[in-house]
Amino acid sequence: MEKKQPLLSVRNLRTYFYTEDGVVKAVDGVDFDVYEGETLGIVGESGSGKSVTSLAIMRLLDPKGRIEEGSQIIFNGKNLLELSEDEMRKIRGNDIAMIFQEPMVALNPVFTIGEQIMEAILLHQDVDKKTARQMAIEMLRKVGIPEPEKRVDEYPHELSGGMRQRAMIAMALSCRPKLLIADEPTTALDVTIQAQILELMKELQQEYGMAIILITHDVGVIAENADRVVVMYGGKVMETTDVKTLFKKPKHPYTWGLLNSIPRLDVEQERLYSIPGMVPDPLHFPPGCRFSNRCDFKEERCIIEMPELVEVEPGHYSRCFFYHKLEEAQKILKAGEGA
């Protein structure tokens, strides 16, 4: 693979929340790259730090959260963390846009859909109101909202969940961003609507050539939509590689456990694997590897020492000392399935 210049590089991102109970290390040293036109999936459970990572990129953290010294978010050659608030505002919505899980919360209930889309257009582009309105209608048509001339004057509550998410996408894409961050964009939707929205995002990505960071807990959504995947757990990247390799040959016990613990339509399953224990409390991560207290493959070293994210195969990074143990486990599992 040729070495391309990444559109976005996140390096050693650490985001801590200073609460009364102590410091919550929500994101603790995260590195990844996003290339032009690709979809990077970030998968993780609650508390893994996936949403905080996206908010940190947009610099939209609430005041308790702080991006620590030494973190870098380089977008198009500029470190976003060094920009002033004014400069950042020019990037937000224009170069990097975001869509959220709950469109009803993310949309302003007292403005019409049209007004909200026009706000973004007027802020970033040198056009008059009339043109902006025309552009808003065009965008709504593009995202598949029927009768956009009428819908443009409707309020968010007048639209269904799927339509609201379409309106959000219209707003996010109105300035043709280079990067779209989609944080659980379909979690609140029914599966048939989810399929519509994901299909729409793919179409628009091809048309606009933008990169997408798709954040979700749904491994299935990742498998069908991402090109490369980052698996997060306890504020750290546990594994990252291209989507096919990840699902075929995971090199981290957490990924392996996750993939084997979901019910699937495509294969018969006798019994699901389950990862023992609980999702760790970010105030009390275990010392050593953060997954060590739930890992079926741990050894003494894991409890004492935090493994580094190392390249185990070309382009395949894993944060585990004993990733090779997985191959044997996989064989045993396969044999079990065959029997």
């Binding site: 498998a223 939509n225 999702v279």
Partner: protein, 395 residues
């Protein structure tokens, strides 16, 4: 061939057809909610949440009730438990009509007269089903009064028994446990009320129940907020289990949990089923989960059952276009898995004004003119495979 089929159903721990015992039968269940408006709160419309649903649950099996939001699957569960009174239809548990159990005595009597006695008195009456036969027998032997006494006598005791026999595990583990009560008291409340245990037995019983769901017995003195979501759901399961129920309704019981915790709870529920010979009605929107856990599946759309079959039948050969579309919409965690993707247009219509004819016809890729005019009935197209579609298998 027949042997084969039996073997398949048995591995899904559902007994063969001949020896199966019907635990629950829902017969043409209807639940409409009024929409009120104006100063006088007049009824302006009806939400037809459940509109003629029938299915059976056999002893020891898991029936998966699946559908998207607004299809009425939760309302079916709630009406079953009589947390809502049904608008019409019958809920039959172990061969007894329980529909009138939670009505005031005079209404219960009225129900019995209307549902059974009036029909029995008609000339040329022919019993429709087992229940009819059984009650007609009582009617001929003991007369009208005798049947009314049989069905409505001692309603209080019948209510208590019903409440004990059918338990529910709710979706949200955060709002379904009283935050002011210790786990011990939450779990002991039911058995004490039903006089299943004495006060002295509480600690012992609760401890055992907690152990069974994988929580340390000493944690019974804690409050709900001290537990994680998965643990709370385990406590909810223990609460249901303590009543020694015949049927457990699990309404999206694992939907709120993280992926890694979800499989723990699912496996726990399946283990408990084997151990205690439990029967589950598993309500969920997640078809992959339903495939894993159920032995038979009921698919609902807009208040109606569109398809019902054994798991193998349904997933091997779905016949209703909606079932097929639903399956194709589910993201499969395998990037190399190629499938035919059917993307449905539009949203689920409102249950206030459901479309004429087949409720699915506005979104159906293979709809024909007849679909908008005539309501398809649920009919058996293959043994134990029921579909409500004019053109089953055409997609």
């Amino acid at each position: 061939m027949m042997e084969n089929r039996q073997a398949v159903t048995q591995t899904n721990n559902s007994p063969a057809k001949s020896e199966r015992e019907v635990l629950l039968r829902i017969d043409n269940l209807v639940k409409h909610f009024p929409i009120r408006a104006g100063v006088f709160k007049r009824i302006v419309a009806w939400v037809k949440a459940v509109d003629g649903v029938s299915f059976e649950v056999y002893k020891g099996e898991t029936v998966g009730l699946v559908g998207e939001s607004g299809c009425g699957k939760t309302t079916v569960g709630m009406t079953l438990l009589r947390l809502y009174e049904p608008t019409s239809g019958r809920i039959i548990v172990e061969g007894e009509d329980t529909t009138h159990y939670f009505l005031p005595a005079w209404k219960a009597k009225k129900y019995v007269r209307k549902t059974y006695i009036e029909r029995f008195k008609e000339s040329g009456f022919v019993p429709k089903d087992d229940i009819d036969k059984k009650y007609y027998d009582i009617f001929t032997k003991k007369g009208e009064k005798g049947l009314i006494e049989y069905l409505t006598g001692d309603l209080q005791a019948k209510r208590l028994a019903f409440r004990r026999e059918i338990q529910i595990v709710f979706q949200d583990p955060y709002s379904s446990l009283n935050p002011r009560m210790r786990i011990k008291n939450i779990l002991a409340e039911g058995p004490l009320t039903h006089k299943m245990i004495t006060k002295e037995q509480v600690i012992d019983t609760v401890g055992k129940a907690l152990q069974e769901v994988g929580i340390h017995p000493t944690h019974m003195y804690r409050f709900p907020h001290e537990f994680s979501g998965g643990q709370r759901q385990r406590i909810g399961i223990a609460r249901a289990l303590l009543m020694n129920p015949k049927l457990i309704i699990a309404d999206e019981a694992v939907a709120a949990l993280d992926v890694s915790i979800r499989s723990q709870v699912i496996n726990l529920m399946m283990d408990l089923q084997k151990e205690h010979d439990l029967t589950y009605l598993f309500i969920s929107h997640d078809l992959s989960l339903i495939k894993y856990i159920s032995s038979r599946v009921v698919v609902m759309y807009l208040g109606k059952v569109v398809e019902t079959a054994t798991k193998k039948e349904l997933f091997d050969e779905p016949l209703h276009p909606y079932t097929k579309a639903l399956m194709s919409a589910i993201p499969v965690p395998n990037p190399e898995y190629k499938k035919q993707r059917i993307i449905l247009q539009g949203d689920v219509p409102s249950p206030v004004n459901p479309p004429s004819g087949c409720p699915f016809h506005p979104r159906c890729p293979v709809a024909k003119p007849i679909c908008s005019k005539e309501k398809p009935e649920l009919r058996e197209v293959k043994p134990e495979h029921f579909v409500a579609c004019h053109f089953p298998g055409s997609l």
